[in-house]
């Protein structure tokens, strides 16, 4: 059988060998008709691939739906999003497959580095692949399907392939974040979250944070970045100055690019970042606050069991505000200790974060449509939440009651006016 390199592809004997191995193992229609196999090369990343057609009864046993970004690392979790087997789109795909639909442009990587019995690692079209498998298994339907098979991928090429393939099916930024994190940084962020209690052992970041009740990659990165930003800011301020500023907690970007602030923290602090004792202590204190809030809402009698109330600590403004202030107070141990004390619950509100009180909060400067504190990720809300936790840190037994929320937000508003227009006597 003839194997040719496309005119746009540079000859590569290793790739040619891999293609031969693949063809020896997986019988394609091109082989049956003795058509030549052409090896193409992606112009942007230089990845090599072939296009071929394979019957379902041949390919199904070779498909691996648990593709990994780092094949050599056992700590690398499944990279793709969760299969949504009850989603109406998937159900339609399965029905189509059972009725003989032929699918095209399924993206797979040929690799025997892990799970060698299933060397076709699926990067694009995992739902279609599953539908093809089920149609064969349940209805014995085998049709011919079109594949792009990649060979000899490097880490960066694999990540790019995963991102591009997933862009086609409009998946969430949370999945991009998870994939990029593992490829460009590693598994340390996830391990750090497990260590401090923000993820359980064996748990991974969610591929769609809005549906999950776990911390996302974006929020975990944000926690780290804010801690160090706050720490740098706090070191410049004496105790008296702390309450005279409006702080700007940062929210990391999410999506196809690694957030530059997070990248900078990793570059600057290196491996020591993950063992930083102050960061670990703060992470644990925050995890405890999150767990206490969840328990209070789940078990409390006088509070609605709303998901938003339960996971209040994981809203962007609350998490950014808290982590920034935890960093800010590193140079002010007494106030840091006060911050770490779980806010007191009262008869009026049984949860430490007073989620209902926050959701009904309204300042005169807010539009009538404002939805309350700790519900949005805008800078205004992040600034306000930082001030709430700063006010909380003034004494160990403070609760986040209406008075404290009012005072904190008043301070944000007043400091802004003060800085822009105060005329001394």
């Amino acid at each position: 059988m003839q194997i040719l390199f496309d005119s746009g592809a540079k000859h590569n004997p290793n790739v040619e060998t891999e293609v031969n191995q693949f063809l020896a193992e997986v019988k394609t229609r091109e082989q049956e008709s003795n058509s030549p196999i052409i090896i193409y090369q992606d112009g942007k990343k230089g990845s090599y691939y072939i296009k071929c057609t394979i019957p379902a009864k041949v390919v199904c046993n070779f498909l691996d739906l648990n593709a990994r970004l780092d094949p050599t690392n056992d700590a690398s979790y499944r990279a793709n999003r969760e299969l949504l087997l009850k989603h109406h789109t998937y159900l339609r795909m399965r029905t189509d497959a059972e009725e003989g639909r032929e699918f095209h442009d399924l993206i797979v990587e040929y690799s025997k580095v892990y799970n060698p019995g299933k060397p076709l690692k699926v990067w694009g079209g995992q739902h279609r692949s599953k539908a093809i498998q089920e149609a064969l298994e349940v209805k014995d339907v085998s049709r011919d399907h079109g594949f792009r098979v990649y060979f000899g991928l490097g880490k960066e090429q694999r990540t790019d392939l995963a991102l591009v393939s997933n862009t086609n099916i409009s998946v969430s930024n949370d999945l991009f974040d998870r994939q990029l994190e593992e490829t460009l940084v590693g598994t340390q962020l996830r391990e750090w979250c497990v260590r401090v209690g923000l993820l359980n052992q064996g748990e991974d970041f969610p591929d769609q944070a809005s549906r999950s009740e776990r911390i996302s990659v974006q929020l975990a990165r944000t926690f780290l970045v804010n801690f160090f930003r706050g720490e740098a800011e706090g070191a410049k301020l004496d105790e008296r100055e702390l309450d005279r500023h409006v702080y700007e907690p940062y929210l990391c970007q999410s999506g196809a690019f690694l957030d530059p602030e997070y990248e900078e923290v990793i570059r600057r602090l290196g491996k020591g970042l993950w063992d930083n004792p102050q960061l670990i202590q703060s992470g644990k204190a925050f995890a405890l606050l999150h767990q206490t809030q969840r328990d209070a809402v789940e078990k409390g009698k006088d509070i609605e069991k709303r998901k938003g109330f339960k996971n209040k600590a994981l809203t962007a403004s609350v998490l950014t505000g808290w982590s920034f202030v935890a960093g800010l107070l590193q140079s002010h141990p007494q106030r840091l200790n006060n911050l770490f004390q779980i806010p007191k619950a009262t008869r009026e509100f049984p949860d430490p974060l007073n989620a209902k009180g926050m959701s009904t909060f309204h300042h005169d400067e807010d539009e009538a449509t404002y939805r309350g504190l700790g519900t949005r990720s805008s800078m205004k809300d992040r600034q306000r939440m930082a001030q709430v936790f700063l006010a909380k840190s003034t004494s160990p037994d403070t609760c986040l009651d209406k008075g404290l929320l009012n005072k904190a937000v008043s301070q944000v508003r007043a400091i802004r006016s003060w800085k822009s227009g105060y005329s001394p006597l």
């Binding site: 309450d243 005169d364 009538a368 008043s410 508003r413 007043a414 802004r416 006016s417 227009g421 105060y422």
Partner: protein, 178 residues
Amino acid sequence: MASYRDFLDYAESFYSQAKQASELGQGTVAERSLIASLLLSWIAMESFINNMMADFAALPPDMFSLPERALLTEQKLEFMDSGSEAGQFRVSDTPEYRRLEDKILFLVAKFGMGTKLDKGGHLWQSFEAVREKRNQITHPRKSYDMSLILADAEDALEVAKAIIRMVSEKVWGKAIGL
């Protein structure tokens, strides 16, 4: 607790009632609705200004001079003639309520980014006219002719909105939608 927006809504609602009653020749109903509307417009201004004063009062005490702090918190400034603070001034716990116009003047002078309030201008003159009407209602006397017409309540509503807008622009640097 109702906000200044709620008070403005109530004022508008009573104004509409007064207008309708007036068209139907229901003089008493119209009058009481006009009184309510005018007072609620004033309350809306009070609410907005008091809350803005409270924002500044939430700042660390030493960011203001003692007279400013006394004004912001509406507490009396007193001279201590005994005890450990003898010979010094302090802001006491005794309330000392200030006039709305003084609070507006203070806020604009302190946080108006150098702008001044034009007391001879149309807005301030209208404000003073509304204040006069409001005083006649809240301090009724036989010697006053407290007759109100629709235009009085309408003016009060417009003045309340304009004052709130003006102060928010000068102090917060942004106009709020009303």
